[in-house]
């Protein structure tokens, strides 16, 4: 225990001595949390459309008025012929051109589908507007589907993104710091000196884990405070569950980082490998696109992704109010990761 104490003092002194690292550790994540949480807006609005009215009847003018009145749309002027329609679309000045041909019973819609998701939404909204002018015939047998959203009735993206980005930030912090640490001692040559001391492998690994673990948890706490103070987001589920699982999660991420560090020759290699893993983890976390939409083999790979498990867990605790009993299976998975990666780090530590 005494040995561990001295190792911890040394590690903390080194971390807090590096004046360039402090803002990177504590300010960069908070700034990113504040800024990036606003970026994730899937809610489509401000769709730019042009209405090319060839019909010029009262009904067609009502349709144009309906588009102008709808807050989802911004009507762009100047499209009155085929060439203009094509040019506006190609140059990205409009998302869609709505064309009402003379005297026919159809509305032609041309949508820039480079972004397929926005295109699909635009189509649905346009249909709604058309339906407001020409109401659908609803008989007794027409199936009408209505819906509501649980836990986040307004579908506020920030309530999802703030906790998720916080998870990503502590993941990057923990993984990069731990991945570079051991290999750094090796590169600057202090590793040999440590090797001749009575420090055991367990001391060494714990001495590396604990500081980053505490910093990660501290960052998590700061992030939750920011979420509450700035975004007004309060966890629906119990805080002990959040912190308890964060502790376990960080342990698994740090174990992975230490493993990367112990098998790398240089800091550069460690960084590249850590970067590769993190990009895979982040993009396949289900935060940006659903895991269930992936092909089956990719879904299997995603099961090995701690970020996927933990973002899902935090989301359920913070928004759906899940407690220990609800998250137990995920906790089990995280525990397996933590044990597995720390064991790998243990075995591959060249001493």
């Amino acid at each position: 225990m005494r040995i561990l104490r001295f190792i911890l003092v040394k590690e903390f002194t080194q971390i807090f001595r590096d004046k360039a690292m402090l803002p990177i550790l504590f300010v960069l994540p908070v700034v990113q949390l504040l800024v990036l949480s606003h970026a994730a807006v899937f809610e489509v609005n401000g769709l730019r459309i042009a209405v090319w009215d060839q019909d010029r009847t009262e009904e067609s003018r009502r349709l144009e008025q309906a588009f102008r009145a709808n807050t989802y749309f911004e009507v762009v002027e100047g499209v009155q012929n085929e060439a203009a329609a094509n040019r506006y679309l190609r140059e990205g000045r409009v998302n869609a051109v709505v064309m009402i041909p003379r005297g026919s019973g159809v509305v032609h819609v041309r949508i820039d589908a480079v972004d397929g998701y926005t295109a699909g939404i635009a189509d649905a909204y346009i249909r709604q507007v058309v339906a407001s002018v020409w109401p659908p015939a609803i008989g007794p047998d027409t199936r009408i589907v209505s819906g509501r959203f649980r836990f986040n009735p307004e579908l506020d993206d920030k309530r999802n993104m703030v906790p998720a980005i916080l998870v990503l930030l502590i993941t990057m912090l923990g993984a990069f710091l731990s991945a570079m640490n051991i290999v750094r001692e090796r590169e600057i040559g202090t590793m040999d000196q440590l090797d001749v001391t009575p420090i055991t492998r367990a001391h060494f690994i714990l001495g590396k884990l604990i500081p980053f673990w505490l910093i990660g948890l501290g960052m998590f706490g700061i992030g939750l405070t920011v979420a509450w103070a700035v975004f007004g987001i309060v966890s629906a589920g119990p805080l002990p569950v959040l912190f308890g699982t964060a502790a376990l999660y960080l342990l698994s991420v740090l174990g992975l980082g230490l493993w990367v560090s112990s098998v790398s020759d240089t800091q550069h290699q460690a960084m590249l490998v850590a970067w590769f893993l993190l990009v895979v983890f982040i993009l396949m976390s289900g935060l940006f696109t659903p895991v269930s939409s992936m092909p089956e083999w990719a879904r299997h790979i995603a099961q090995l992704n701690p970020v996927k498990w933990y973002i899902d867990l935090v989301r359920r605790v913070m928004l759906a109010g899940a407690g220990w009993a609800d998250v137990l299976p995920s906790v089990g998975v995280l525990a397996v990761f933590a044990v597995a990666w720390n064991s790998l780090a243990w075995w591959s530590m060249r001493r």
């Binding site: 005494r2 001295f6 002194t13 040999d192 000196q193």
Partner: protein, 242 residues
């Protein structure tokens, strides 16, 4: 009593034998110079003796304990100083001392006492809070030596401790080594400077993984019939035997 005894100590890397059947002993309290051309196997032998590498076959006792069976308790009894002065450059002198003293298990009172003694012995007052990277090379070397001695080891291994240092600083440094040996500490030193070899009580000379000579500097010069240690070295390294 012997501080170090090796018995057929051997280390192979694949087909290459870096240390070949090494058997010799180092007496307690002597300065033992370990010489050899680059690649002769000195560093590998030293790595085995300090527990950094495991022998392929054979064994050695260091401070009375087998390096095979008691690696950790051996480590507590030895000090190590390498040519890279592997201190933490971003930590101050005091922080380095506290860290290394602490991991060798010194209690707080002893640690404070030893650090105070270090401060006077090496004339470091006023520099204890300086970061190691800001110290001149000669001072860094003293700090590294003082750090290696902090837990009062029986044996200190010094791996080319004076690399890149000027002659005056080197002489002063060797003065410290002689004093320390007089207090009963065994010093096991590798070096490329033959004038330093003259300070040693005995010299072991490695060629191609084998120990080809082991004697006092004076007797080595006598048997080889040459005037300086330089000539002894060149003659042995080229394949002569003592």
């Amino acid at each position: 009593m012997n501080a170090i005894e090796t018995h057929h100590l051997t280390k192979r890397f694949g087909g290459f034998t870096a240390v070949d059947d090494l058997t010799f002993s180092v007496r307690a309290g002597e300065i033992f110079g370990f010489l050899g051309a680059n690649g002769a196997g000195k560093t590998t032998a030293m790595k085995m003796l300090t527990g950094l590498a495991a022998p392929t076959s054979g064994d050695a006792t260091v401070a009375g304990r087998s390096i095979r069976d008691h690696a950790v308790s051996v480590k507590k009894r030895i000090g190590y100083m390498s040519q890279r002065f592997s201190l933490y450059e971003d930590l101050s002198v005091r922080e380095n001392l506290r860290f290394f003293g602490g991991v060798y298990g010194l209690d707080d009172a002893t640690l404070a006492d030893r650090i105070a003694r270090f401060e006077t012995t090496y004339h470091m007052s006023g520099r204890m809070h300086t970061r190691v990277k800001e110290l001149p090379l000669g001072i860094k070397q003293n700090v590294a030596f003082g750090t290696a001695l902090l837990h009062q080891p029986d044996i200190v291994f010094l791996d080319e401790p004076t690399g890149g240092v000027d002659p005056i600083t080197r002489r002063r440094f060797w003065g410290m080594l002689v004093e320390e040996a007089a207090r009963g500490t065994t010093l096991f030193v590798t070096t490329h400077y033959m004038d330093e070899a003259e300070y040693c009580d005995r010299i072991g000379m490695m060629v191609d993984g084998k120990l080809v000579a082991l004697d006092t500097p004076a007797r080595l010069k006598q048997t080889m019939g040459v005037a300086t240690m330089d000539d002894v070295f060149v003659k042995l390294a080229r394949g002569g035997a003592a």
